[in-house]
Amino acid sequence: MTKVKSLADLKKMKDQLQSKVSLREKGDNPDSLVQIKVAMATCGIASGAKTVMEFFIDELEKRSIDAVVTQTGCMGYCYAEPTIEVKLPNQEPVVFGYVNNQKADEIIEKYIKNGELVDGIIPVNYNTIDNK
């Protein structure tokens, strides 16, 4: 085990180790972060939702965007799988359909970074108990 020799060393270590625990800190204040929900029911997984979810986790970290990526159950848009819901802080959530890695990249660059809407939005056609 290498010893920590200075405060600078310690800070470097912290930056490396932070990602291990950052998920937990984010979990504490999800409202101030970009939240992405990936529909991961059987239909979603079969259409490749898992790859898309991993893509989001990796790419958001690489592009230093603070976000929480979670999986959720079937959203009901099985015709348009994989589907994801993106909620920017203080905004209404938006659902995108037919998301593959390429689409995911577009969503990150255009919608998450700049707030520009991209094609493939599915109008939400029901109310949830929360917003009724």
Partner: protein, 596 residues
């Protein structure tokens, strides 16, 4: 390296461990492996979440789902439903007692909404057996900062923060450090008091179990500030899990060079040893603690000299308790202004309370100073169990007193509690409902002090014994009005003449219950009645002759054969034989047995 997209945090505090949380961890891991998810979901055992009432707790991140009362058998369902399919397991969610609704995440639980976690910041968040996680949460950075700012500036910072000792006395921590730093000696010591003895208080144990590195870091900071190279943790041998995790943490800190020679290139050497206490309450008093560490009988000594002048082995020593130390790194990381912005004028920061007794949400809570009892009991505690009426709160353990309804809106801090006839103590908070007899409560605490008195000074050794006898007489129904005066006078004498904190505070439960519940004492003496129905000698069981059908169910259940009567005829209880156990009351289907 495995890339985790989700974390499962399982409470590894003593309470949850006792409900098999270690088995839950094992089952969760094997279920994940079965589904091929072991590299995607990480299972971590953390320190106490504080919500012990509903343990074991499993928290799922990042969606912050909070599962309560999880059993090992539920692990498979959590994995299959929540992790694989993404559906929350509703039946394991916390149910709000006021509206019966499921609350899925801890942010929206009343129990957590009013809390600010400083001392407990890492409990339930990090894996206490992995130093990486502590470092990832800015661990040991405060130490580095203190090396850069120098001892004098660091003590100044601590003084400005307004931190006061969390072990009970409430002495300003910065001042204590300054005294120890000014006394010159070839060797000084840093002592951590982890001899948590108040019945019902377990915050120090939880901190050591959930975040041992914070205590190690703070002790090292203290060592640097006062010029001590040795640290000692005096911990009760009854805390095996805390000891194990502390030892692991010490080993890891040494491997990382965060303990030992030339820490962080500062040229400062420091190391920590553990001393085990045999579980005497009085050893939580700092001079008795030092005696015990030196291998002598755990008896307090006269102050002055204070430990800051002549402590362990006659050398200047600084003694703080676990919770106090746990606050220290945060003060340096966030600055004294941030810390002193929380709390009241004279009590800054937060205090951890062990909430127990007749409330719905029993557990460990950390709240800002200045919060009211009402907020603690009704918002965090979720109200009185079974919808009963609130009667009193006992704070400060055997050294504290009772607060009543009129104190519900008092802002809680060191000074207000003292003014109300109780004290902060180490933070035990026992809520009592209308079924509690206040004379019995006072007697219970006295029993504890009588048992734990070290016997060195006579006011405490003999006085408390006599107090207990007086109380016993009253609960038996043999007390007189003169006894009430005697209780008061004797209490004052014990308070004024005892040697150490134990004796000086031991009559508090008696004085505060007499003060606040004088009627109840008088009732016991004059009417031979205990309104709460707790004093067995003052009760009498009688059978209502009209309601009794003579089924003989009570006769069969009576353990002392005190009930007699013909079959199908009304029965009688011989009160000279009856022991008032209440077994017959439970058995009677016709509610024919009354307690008077």
């Amino acid at each position: 390296m495995a890339k985790y997209k989700s974390h499962l945090l399982v409470c590894g505090g003593t309470g949850c461990m006792a409900s098999q949380s270690d088995t839950i961890v094992g089952t969760l891991k094997s279920e994940l492996a079965k589904n091929g998810l072991e590299n995607e979901v990480q299972v971590i055992m953390t320190g106490c979440f504080g919500f012990c009432e509903k343990g074991p707790i499993v928290k799922v991140l990042p969606d912050n789902t909070f599962y309560t009362e999880v059993k090992p058998a539920d692990a498979a369902e959590i994995i299959a439903e929540h992790i694989v399919k993404g559906r929350k397991v509703n039946r394991l969610l916390y149910t709000d007692p006021t509206n019966e609704e499921h609350v899925s995440d801890s942010k929206h639980m009343g129990f957590y909404q009013k809390q600010i976690r400083i001392a407990l910041r890492n409990c339930g968040v990090v894996d206490p057996e992995n130093i990486d996680e502590y470092i990832g949460r800015e661990g040991y950075q405060a130490l580095g900062m203190v090396f850069e700012m120098g001892a004098k500036a660091a003590i100044e910072e601590l003084k400005k923060s307004g931190l006061r000792g969390r072990g009970g006395g409430g002495f300003p921590t910065g001042l204590k450090w300054e005294f120890a730093s000014k006394n010159q000696a070839d060797q000084k010591y840093v002592i951590c008091n982890a001899d948590e003895g108040d019945p019902g208080a377990f915050m120090d144990r939880s901190i050591l179990e959930g975040d041992p590195h914070t205590v190690i870091e703070a002790m090292t900071i203290n060592g640097f500030c006062i010029g001590a190279t040795k640290g000692l943790v005096y911990i009760r041998a009854e805390y095996p899990l805390a000891i194990k995790r502390l030892l692991t943490a010490l080993k890891q800190a040494r491997e990382f060079g965060l303990l030992g020679k030339d820490i962080l290139g500062s040229g400062f050497d420091f190391d920590i040893e553990i001393r085990y206490g045999a579980g005497a309450f009085v050893c939580g008093e700092e001079t008795a603690l030092i005696q015990s560490m030196e291998g002598d009988r755990g008896e307090p000594t006269v102050k002055p000299p204070f430990p800051a002048e002549s402590g362990y082995l006659g050398k200047p020593s600084n003694v703080n308790n676990v919770e106090t130390y746990a606050n220290v790194p945060v003060i340096f990381l966030k600055g004294h202004k941030w810390f002193s912005s929380i709390g009241t004028e004279k009590s800054k920061g937060t205090k951890v309370f062990a909430l127990a007794g007749n409330v719905n949400n029993v557990g460990l809570i950390e709240v800002p100073m200045g919060i009211t009892l009402r907020e603690i009991i009704y918002e965090i505690g979720g109200g009185i169990k079974g919808g009963k009426k609130f009667k009193a709160v006992q704070t400060g353990g055997p050294s504290g007193g009772c607060l009543t309804e009129k104190h519900l809106d008092t802002k809680i801090d060191y000074d207000n509690l003292l003014a109300s006839g109780s004290m902060m103590g180490s933070g035990g908070m026992i809520v009592l409902d209308e079924d509690s007899c206040m004379v019995s409560v006072a007697k219970f605490y006295l029993e504890f002090t009588v048992e734990e008195s070290c016997g060195k000074c006579s006011p405490c050794r003999i006085g408390n014994k006599r107090l207990h006898e007086l109380l016993d007489r009253i609960t038996q129904g043999n007390g007189t009005m003169e006894d009430l005066d005697r209780l008061r006078n004797l209490s004052e004498v014990i308070k004024d003449t005892s040697l150490c904190g134990l004796g000086q505070t031991s009559p508090n439960p008696v004085l505060s219950t007499i003060e606040n519940f004088y009627d109840e004492y008088v009732e016991h003496v004059k009417d031979h009645k205990c309104r709460a129905g707790q004093c067995k000698s003052l009760m009498q069981h009688v059978i209502d002759q009209e309601a009794c059908v003579g089924c003989t169910a009570c006769v069969r259940v009576c353990p002392v054969n005190a009930i007699s009567g013909e079959r199908k005829q009304p029965h009688f209880i011989d009160s000279s034989i009856c022991i008032n156990c209440g077994a017959c009351v439970e058995k009677c289907k016709f509610s024919a047995i009354n307690v008077i």
